[in-house]
Symmetry: C2
Subunit: 182 residues, 2 copies
């Protein structure tokens, strides 16, 4: 197998926004030629699969401006600087849904956009949930609802759920919940 | 259900690169307040699940600079302007792997990064494959290899495959190939 690595020659921050931080690097390709790589630096995130005692998943409905659509998603949130991803998962789940999780299980991780972002998203199953209405933050335009695993899978198949982190997590949840992937 | 839509007030292109086109919009939130949305405009892409007669999938090994790792991925490529996604799928599969597909089946689509990108990726199963060595482009630093569906699923579970479009497509392929999702 060839070594396909690219070496950084120079890095420049070309846009610094409220959310986005864009970099343009000059790199050396494996054959010695130079090229340019443009990408976003992201702090990373956690996505949670909240599983209620009745087996339903807690989902969110949220308008996503870049795609111009209301999306069905699992709860997720960015990792604060220096924060352990499992703590981000616990904090964001409580803030967005009001659910505290006694049991958080790390399932895996995903990279949503390896062509132009370094973002990594850690996936957690959240179980033994208790609802704390007063802990839910209501300043975000997010609405929560329940969905069975079967209906969530059906919503992927029908094209209602198209958010990548949510699709990966629901497929993974099926294998986790049926005992195929413990 | 509340209307969660956000209205564009103003749009500004803040970075125009070789690959990335970054916008910063002022928007009106559902409660009338103003906010800022920063995002990438992307032409869209297609990801292909090439299924060989022996049942193996054709995968790619490629260094991805933003994440600094060699990734295992399914073949994928950007949609040219005005191009039908199924034609992008056919063209990119041939260019990257040398395989021509007599049968392309649209399975679904995914949005990899709805927080900051409008990118949509269409998923195709590619079957009845014939290899045309002379059609494969060798200027990209991509190496192809075969992987059974079981090994691909195992590579997701073990954390070797973390690319979101590849994870979604492999999970979907399992249901397509076992007849659960025709």
């Amino acid at each position: 197998m060839r070594d396909l690595r690219e070496k950084q020659l120079r890095s420049e921050k070309v846009f610094s926004g409220v959310l986005l931080h864009v970099y343009k690097d000059e790199v050396e390709l494996p054959d010695g030629r130079a090229s340019v790589r443009e990408y976003i630096k992201h702090p990373g995130a956690a996505v949670m699969i909240p599983i209620l005692p009745n087996g339903n998943l807690v989902m969110e409905r949220q308008f996503r401006y870049p795609v111009g659509e209301e999306m069905w998603e699992l709860p997720a949130g960015k990792i604060d600087e220096g924060e352990d991803p499992v703590e981000s998962a616990r904090r964001e789940l409580l803030e967005e849904t009001g659910y505290g999780a006694k049991k958080l299980t790390a399932l895996g991780k995903l990279h949503p956009g390896i062509g132009y972002s370094n973002e990594v998203i850690y996936i957690y199953a959240a179980e033994d949930l208790t609802f704390h209405a007063e802990q839910q933050e209501h300043d975000e335009f997010i609405e929560t609802f329940e969905l069975s695993l079967d209906k969530a899978l059906g919503a992927i198949r029908s094209g209602k759920i198209t958010d990548a982190k949510t699709m990966v997590s629901i497929f993974w949840a099926e294998k986790y919940l049926n005992g195929e992937w413990k």
